[in-house]
């Protein structure tokens, strides 16, 4: 249980070198609202990529996504004293990014996902870069096409759970619903998708 007004916002393992693969979002940030540059930098290391990815899918433009996230994070630090009592930092930041994206969304609503606007990390072989990027964009478009068949609220829960890897409790807080509602939306959304999504093993047949 976290308490407001703790002396350090850093999670307990903030100083350790995490060399394992990308941690689950539940472990990404368990501290309070960062109050010092050091705490804030740790939060950036844990969350910046995730927030940019989240914003990118909403805005469909990498530069816009980075700008939106940058604005949110700078504001998050500027207003740090006001938010000292925020207990669940991750969903709060997701909401801030969602709001920032909504303000920019009108300009980008009809913009197709662009190869030029997607950034990929650590590709082992640059010869495959173009084909991998095209595949990534096509994959995102395919996912969005599938999710567009669901009620918007169910689709959003699935996005946050599968694409953003957020725990259900954070999802509930991010979208402003109860935890049972978030669970229900995830369950029914996946039920509907069973009929249309080819399972990975089916692809191999």
């Amino acid at each position: 249980m976290q308490s407001a007004g703790r002396t350090s916002a850093l999670p307990d393992d903030a100083s350790s070198d995490a060399t394992t693969s990308r941690p689950e979002a539940a472990q990404v940030w368990t501290g309070g609202w960062p109050q010092t540059p050091r705490e804030f930098e740790v939060l950036l290391d844990r969350l910046l990529d995730r927030l940019v990815w989240y914003a990118f899918r909403r805005l469909r433009d990498f530069g816009e996504a980075e700008d939106a996230v940058q604005d949110v994070l700078v504001r998050a630090y500027a207003d740090r004293t006001k938010r000292m009592n925020v207990v669940r930092v991750v969903p709060y930041l997701y909401r801030m990014v969602a709001n920032a994206c909504a303000q920019r969304y009108r300009r980008s609503a009809n913009r197709p996902l662009s190869i030029d606007s997607i950034g990929l990390e650590d590709l082992p072989d640059e010869k495959n870069r173009a084909s991998e990027q095209i595949a990534a964009v096509e994959q995102l478009e395919w996912i969005e096409q599938l999710l567009s068949r669901l009620p918007a609220r169910q689709a959003e829960v699935i996005r946050l759970r599968v694409l953003d890897e957020l725990p259900l409790a954070d999802i509930a807080e991010t979208i402003g619903c109860s935890l049972p509602t978030a669970k229900s939306r995830l369950y029914y959304g996946l039920q509907k998708l069973r009929r249309t999504v080819p399972r990975p093993e089916e692809d191999k047949r």
């Binding site: 689950e24 979002a25 539940a26 010092t36 540059p37 804030f40 930098e41 950036l44 290391d45 910046l48 990529d49 940019v52 990498f62 530069g63 980075e66 996230v69 940058q70 994070l73 700078v74 500027a78 207003d79 004293t81 006001k82 030029d116 606007s117 997607i118 950034g119 990929l120 990390e121 590709l123 072989d125 640059e126 870069r129 990027q133 595949a135 990534a136 994959q139 995102l140 599938l146 999710l147 699935i158 759970r161 599968v162 694409l163 890897e165 957020l166 725990p167 259900l168 978030a182 669970k183 229900s184 995830l186 369950y187 996946l190 998708l193 069973r194 999504v197 080819p198 399972r199 990975p200």
Partner: protein
């Protein structure tokens, strides 16, 4: 538990880290119910199918930009509005607009005597790793620029003048960039600029490492990031990277990275800034590395002009890990220096946001004409506190103020003007004036 209860709570098993105790009854049920097990398996299958194999990530500079702002806020105190980019950080670096690792055209032109040699990006990555281990660096270069002016400026018709860059990756780190008439020092806590101008010393300071003050040479302060910058820069239309290997003068193999880049910025209204900086010119940047150690050995930059390519930057020496005297990262500011503050940094300055750039320029010059320095401060900040500036501009006569225009990467506007100084000299130039601050106040930025 029956199947209906299981379905109602199935999502708990689909959470990121299901609580083993709270979901024990669900697991028990599913182990004995093939139908629910199949349904759960299908749900996991759908999630796996939707999980993308690639994601977008923040570019390398994003974190740095955010932390720069955070450090500014920290020094300003909690609750203050985010500070704007200061006048010396002339413009957003062009690479900042590029996405992280976007599509880059890589042409491996030739690998002498090599088959299956290192990949282009592998070479860059190794070079970056080498540089990350560097403790000190002293780079000596020549740049075709004007003494005392900013480190972005190039003049293809001016002679090459020496420029020095020192960096030390200690705790705290330090760096220094110096050319005749202008020096910037980061001492680990703050960055200080000293301009030794004809009107007397002018100084400015910013908290932390304000690399933006160093203009085009800023990426060279952390050579390990140069390659990221170049890679991102290459994403801009018209930029191409090629990598070749060739024998050096001593026969040792060299890796040569060449970037051919188009001029950045908007020149639809005016060509004024074309070829005034490397970014705003069609240019070729050539980096040479020792192929064995991946050590950066040299940089040459050429700018394309109607008269042919002109060398505008060339390193003459790069020394690594040699001791650098501590005094290098200290800067003594003369007592008679004018400390620069922009209008929006001054307390209770008048709101000029509703003025046109032409009106702001005219108001500034007319204030100078009347030697009304309080009024001139509204547009030029503390610059007009400088006795030399007052002596130069006081009593001037405004002859003409033209229509403003944009050019290149400059975020403000240029206002053509013609004035007569009290010495009788007629001066025709373009006043650089910008309002990209939080209050949108006009601020004279150059061109005097």
């Amino acid at each position: 538990m029956n199947c209906r209860s299981f379905r109602k709570r199935q999502a708990e098993l689909l959470d990121t880290s299901p609580d083993p105790v709270a979901t024990a009854d669900l697991r028990e049920h599913v182990s004995g119910c093939p139908e629910c097990a199949r349904e759960l398996d299908q749900a996991f299958g759908v999630m796996a199918a939707l999980r993308p194999s690639h994601k977008a990530f923040a570019s390398a500079k994003t974190k740095e930009r955010i932390m720069d702002r955070v450090l500014e806020l920290q020094s300003a105190g909690p609750g203050r509005e985010a500070a704007r980019a200061r006048w010396w950080s002339m413009r957003r670096p062009v690479w900042a607009a590029a996405a992280a690792l976007v599509l880059v055209a890589v042409v491996v032109v030739a690998w002498i005597g090599a088959s299956g040699g290192p990949s282009a990006f592998g070479t860059l990555a190794e070079a970056a790793e080498f540089v990350k281990g560097v403790k000190t660096m002293h780079m000596v270069a020549n740049m075709r620029t004007i003494p005392g002016d900013n480190f972005d400026l190039i003049r293809t018709d001016e002679p090459l003048i020496p420029i020095h860059i020192w960096t030390e990756a200690a705790d705290p780190p330090g760096w220094r960039v110096e050319k005749e008439g202008r020096v910037i020092v980061m001492d680990g806590n703050s960055t200080t600029l000293l301009i030794k101008s004809g009107v007397g010393p002018i100084a400015a300071t910013a908290p932390g490492s304000a690399t933006g003050m160093a203009g085009w040479v800023a990426p060279l302060l952390d050579v390990g990031t140069v390659f990221d910058h170049e890679r991102e820069q290459a994403a801009d239309e018209g930029s191409r990277i090629s990598i070749t290997r060739k024998a050096g003068a001593d026969g040792s193999p060299k890796t040569v990275l060449t970037i051919r880049a188009r001029a950045q910025g908007d020149f639809t209204q005016s060509e004024y800034l074309r070829n005034k900086s490397i970014w705003e010119s069609d240019n070729v940047r050539v980096y040479t590395f020792d192929a064995a150690t991946q050590r950066l050995e040299g940089i040459r930059v050429y700018v394309a002009t109607p008269k042919g390519d002109v060398l505008v930057f060339e390193t003459t020496r790069i020394e690594y890990d040699r001791p650098i005297p501590a005094s290098t990262f200290a800067l003594e500011i003369p007592e008679d220096s004018t400390w620069l503050k922009q209008p929006d940094e001054l307390p209770s300055v008048r709101d000029t946001s509703q003025m046109t750039p032409e009106e702001a320029a005219r108001a500034f010059f007319e204030a100078c004409a009347a030697s009304d320095w309080d009024e001139a401060r509204v547009f030029a900040g503390t610059l007009v506190d400088n006795a030399g500036v007052r002596d130069l501009l006081g009593g001037l006569k405004v002859i003409e103020i033209g229509k403003s225009f944009r050019s290149g990467l400059y975020p403000g506007r240029f206002v053509p003007y013609k004035i007569q100084l009290k010495s009788g000299e007629i001066k025709e130039h373009n006043l650089a004036i910008r309002n990209d601050n939080a209050k949108h106040l006009w601020s004279v930025d150059g061109g005097i």
